[in-house]
């Protein structure tokens, strides 16, 4: 355990804390702020099960985006699906013994990484090429894309350019999880990959990446269309009622 190893251990814990804490704080707020009125975008499901299905379609298929813009949907969906696969594949570093299904999806890793980069490239090009999207794009939008591209590139490079010691790397990750810090393999690419991921984790709760938890709390998507059957009253609105 040299100084570099120690630095990575400390940064990892710090970023994780920021990520989990920040996310919890946001989710807590989303959960606590009431939705005083029924505002599902119609036609909406009339039952809880229907809402779950609607939300699943949104999260898994990006249904609304598909209706809205096919190209963005294509790139966005490819990016997210590949990202999900990449992340799931990464579970091999965090589990010992590795879960069966994680082992099963390993072979797709290389392609998932490339697909993710392709999706990101498509999204980025659209940001630069489509006048309307360019208008609404700010520096932070480019930065997030750049960050993800950099993560993808360094990750893929450890496979295509300079291999790393996966076993030692897994030991490092397990060490973090089990509070028994281990050295990190001193390969510049993995260290860069990890560092960038830590940056991503740190900015996550403070950026537009909040769309990931946000979508589940969006009242236009998660409300049941039963306004006439069930009275829906927020606490603060109920308080107004007292003065009726």
């Amino acid at each position: 355990m040299g100084a570099v190893d120690l630095l990575f251990v400390i940064l990892s814990y710090a970023a994780t804390l920021l990520f989990l804490g920040g996310l919890a704080w946001r989710i807590y707020r989303y959960a606590r702020v009431p939705a005083p009125l029924k505002i599902p975008t119609m036609p909406a499901p009339t039952s809880r099960a229907g809402v779950v299905a609607r939300m699943a379609r949104e999260v898994v298929l990006f249904e609304s985006l598909f209706k809205g813009q096919k190209w963005t949907w294509l790139f966005g969906w490819v990016f997210h699906a590949a990202l999900a696969l990449v992340l799931a594949r990464h579970l091999r570093y965090f589990t010992e013994p590795v879960w069966g299904w994680v082992v099963l999806i390993q072979p797709f890793g290389k392609y998932a990484g490339l697909a993710m980069l392709a999706g990101l490239a498509g999204l980025w090009i659209r940001r630069l090429a489509v006048e309307r999207v360019r208008y609404i794009t700010g520096p932070s939008d480019h930065l997030i894309l750049a960050l993800l591209v950099a993560i993808g590139l360094t990750g893929a490079a450890t496979r295509f350019a300079a291999r790393t010691d996966i076993v030692a790397f897994k030991a490092f990750v397990l060490g973090l999880l089990r509070l028994d810090p281990q050295p990190i393999p001193h390969d510049p690419l993995v260290m860069a990959h990890l560092l960038l991921v830590l940056v991503l984790m740190a900015v996550f709760p403070f950026s537009k990446l909040l769309h990931a938890p946000g979508v589940f709390f969006s009242p236009t998507r998660n409300q049941v269309d039963d306004a006439r059957e069930r009275r829906h009253l927020a606490p603060w609105a109920a308080a107004l009622e007292q003065s009726r």
Binding site: R92, E96, P97, V98, V102, V103, Q106, P107, R163, T164, D165, I166, V167, A168, K170, A171, L174, G175, R178, L179, D180, Q182
Partner: protein, 125 residues
Amino acid sequence: ALAASTAARAVPLPEIVAPAVGPRCVLPAEQMRREHMELLRHQRARTVRQGIRGERFSLRLCIACHAGRDERGQPVSVAAPGQFCESCHRYAAVRIDCFQCHSGRPDPEAEAAARRIAGELAAGR
């Protein structure tokens, strides 16, 4: 190197079977850990497609050195649970299909060659 440190720690590591033939690998272990797959892939194209034989990264040689022995001293396949290749690959969740075709046990011819190479390595060649 990894195996030695396992006992004292909470962090699990693969138990790596000590090679039957020593003292060193065909390249430094550090490097083998990272690059053996590329080396093997390279070697196999050379051998199968060009007919180049007798080189150091032959799979048969790896097996000759790295196959473990059971209680009765019989060689065990390197792909058997807990054996050299398998222990790491299970840890890293890498599934290789090599041993669908290749025998994981050493054969005398390859063992002989491996001993020769071990000699060369020891002599620093």
